[in-house]
Amino acid sequence: MTDHATPVVSMDAITKTFPGVKALDAVQLDLYASQVTALVGENGAGKSTTVKILTGIYFPDGGTIRIDGEPVTFANANAAADAGITAIHQETVLFDELTVAENIFIGHAPRTRWGLIDKAAMQSAAFKLLQDIGATFDPRTLLRDLGIANKHLVAVARALSVDARVVIMDEPTAALSHKEIEELYELVETLKKQGKAILFISHKFDEIFRIADRYTVFRDGGFVGAGLISEIDEDALVQLMVGRTVEHIFPERTPNVAEDVLQVVGYAHPTEFADINFTLKRGEILGFYGLVGAGRSEFMQSLFGITKPSKGVCKINGSIRVIRSPADAVANGIVYVPEDRGKQGTIIGLPIFQNISLPSLGRTSKSGFLRLAEEFKLAREYSERLDLRAASLDQDVGNLSGGNQQKVVIAKWLATQPQVIILDEPTKGIDIGSKAAVHEFMAELAEQGLSVIMVSSEIPEVIGMSDRVIVMRDGRIEAELEGDALSPETLVRHAAGISATQMEEA
């Protein structure tokens, strides 16, 4: 391997700060032609920020980006594209109301002599691009008529439509089926042969070891290490990524399991999930594991009354309860800490104490009239329990760090004195310190007899915290694991739908 060659793109001591968080702290990243570099790190390690800086969406606060050794700055997304950097994004950044061909060529469509968009040329070029990556649909189709996997292919085609030297793939296999993933690997090989430098971001170790040539590891916004994949093994990479052994940070718990609290029978939704059956016991922490897009959050939101299930029954303490709205859920003692904190969790614009008291106003008020003193009392009690760090309780919740916002959301729900608390990716995107605090607190809650459902995509967290784990795949329950059956291997296997024999072969 050409280890001394100049990298096509190199990020040198790049720093990016957001209010309250240092997203990147002097990180280092080199991408070489004809090589796949895997960027590895936990959620919140700074991977997305890196992608946004490389594609010109964010402007770094410090450090240098070099292309072929020459320093460059990207004023906007166009400048990065002109420099030959293109990205296939994690979130769909496509346009539903435009055709496939227009989505591929928006911003750089072929023109006719009159300066108009040359539709015929655009469609035939799009057709060719799609054919190259094995897509069979008509480029004239409206994007909204395509399924998720096909939309993803459009995103790939768009990345290839510019004459890119660097292709960034941000969790490209998260929403794909097994067969589609194989096709994507072939595509990566093709791109390598064409001499492109590829940045591959993934949570899945098997695929990193399968297709990457190099690795770079970030942790909490800092650079941890880099090297050749051939010179490292999985354990060492995990060690680099997590920076600690898994057993250390999770609180010791003695499961003290009692009677059933929640029973879910045959929950189903037309497109999102089906056949969901399980029971939850008092004082238990039940983990829900699965790949992104496996339908876990969708099911939880249905249980919380946001979406209507088409079938199914929910029993609380043995009696059937109909939950049509979150208000019903809260009244029945089920509360939900959502993954999307900014949009669904906190109400930014309202002060901390009002966020905490919002679902409990019935208790703090008197015949419908607010009693501020009671609200402050309630907010103080729970924010102290959660060790909330804030300047004052009437501070806008939007000014808090991610971890402290999460504490406000949890405090809000604990104040309602629930029976079941559902935590959806409770530690995603928050710093290690707050993470440990959330974990300890979860254990404490279970100890006090609260039943916890924890949706998590982080294997150490799932294994370290859960008494029992349900694995979901493609909207269904794939497995229920407990005790010795609960290991990183079994989780990954069930989540990906790979049978035991296949695993041994690989």
């Binding site: 906007n76 496509l94 109301e97 928006i106 399924g147 999102e272 897009g293 493609d474």
Partner: protein, 327 residues
């Protein structure tokens, strides 16, 4: 094959207009005579032109309530120019009208782009300001037909190939906008900005600037219509076209342009305007008091928006493999 390419929304609206024409012709067959239909079209031409400008603005998630005031102010300015300088050639008048309209649009656009003030507030404000300025410059007086030159008032009525120039300008605008929306980078950016502003940034499109340009276009068309309006009715005063902005928005909504942005078509806007035009012209023919018109267009807005929302409702994420095939 041909039918497959006509979008459902436009198809249904087109059919509704045809049914309407059919029903009216039962009562009075002369209504669908070519000459009368040409009259109806000419009468609807200003609405069509303004609806196209409004469409672009709404597609970018904004709204322009100042179009009617812009129209009236531009109309007054060109009428006063004509009184002061009767010799000014029509092309110069047209250029002034379009430029003046575009300038007013640019004021709206700048306030939305640079200061990020909600479009509804900006255009509510400029709407009253523009109207007030008409009063200031005209001192509340009317400019009547006899004060304007015959070339000035005659232009929009001059027949060319059997249709008045006003109709031809509307047709030309439809063609230009049809090409612009489907075949230029600006046209596609407009859809991108309204459909997914977040993603538009990723593809290097400047959301604010696109919205600014949409307001300029809408303003330019309002200015153009201002001259045509004053010429056609041969009168200019403070209150011309008062409340017309709502009819323009109504045409867009009926034409299936989503107020949430990103969804709509030139064909829809034109059909929406034609629908209102046909209703307005048909009422006297079928002996219904013209006082019904307002209530009918109000009901049409409600029906159209309810219908379009139902058709466009998202069905949630498709996760189950069994569901993927069936949708």
């Amino acid at each position: 094959m041909v039918l497959r390419h006509i979008p459902i929304r436009e198809g249904i609206l087109g059919a509704a207009i045809l049914v309407l024409l059919g029903l009216v012709s039962i009562r009075y067959s002369g209504f669908i005579a070519p000459a009368n239909l040409a009259n109806v079209f000419n009468d609807t031409a200003p609405l069509i032109i303004l609806a196209l400008g409004q469409m672009v603005v709404i597609l970018t998630r904004c709204i322009d309530l100042s179009v009617a005031a812009n129209l009236a102010l531009t109309g007054m300015v060109v009428a006063m120019l004509n009184v002061a300088m009767p010799g000014l050639p029509i092309p110069v008048i047209l250029a002034i009208a379009i430029l003046l309209g575009a300038m007013m649009g640019a004021i709206n656009g700048l306030l939305v782009w640079k200061l990020a003030i909600p479009p509804i507030v900006v255009t509510l404000g400029t709407m009253t300001v523009f109207r007030g300025i008409i009063f200031l410059i005209s001192e509340g007086k009317w400019i009547n037909a006899h004060e304007m030159s015959t070339a000035f008032t005659g232009f929009s009525r001059t027949a060319f190939l059997g249709l008045p120039v006003l109709s031809w300008i509307a047709i030309a605008t439809v063609i230009v906008f049809g090409v612009m929306m489907s075949r230029t980078a600006l046209g596609r950016s407009v859809f991108a900005v309204g459909g997914n502003p977040h993603a538009a940034v990723y593809t290097g499109i400047d959301v604010g600037k696109t919205q600014f340009l949409a307001f300029v276009l809408s303003g330019a068309l309002a200015g153009l219509t201002g001259y045509l309006w004053v010429a056609r009715y041969a009168v200019a005063y403070v209150d011309i076209a008062r409340g017309f902005e709502l009819e323009v928005v109504a045409a867009c909504v009926i034409g299936g342009i989503s107020i949430a942005g990103g969804i709509g078509s030139v064909g829809g806007a034109v059909l929406g305007a034609l629908f209102l035009g046909v209703v307005k012209n048909a009422l006297p023919v079928v002996n219904i008091s013209p006082f019904w018109q307002l209530a009918i267009s109000g009901s049409a807005i409600l029906i159209a928006v309810a219908f379009n929302a139902r058709a466009g409702r998202s069905k949630g994420r498709i996760i189950l493999k069994s569901a993927e095939g069936s949708v």
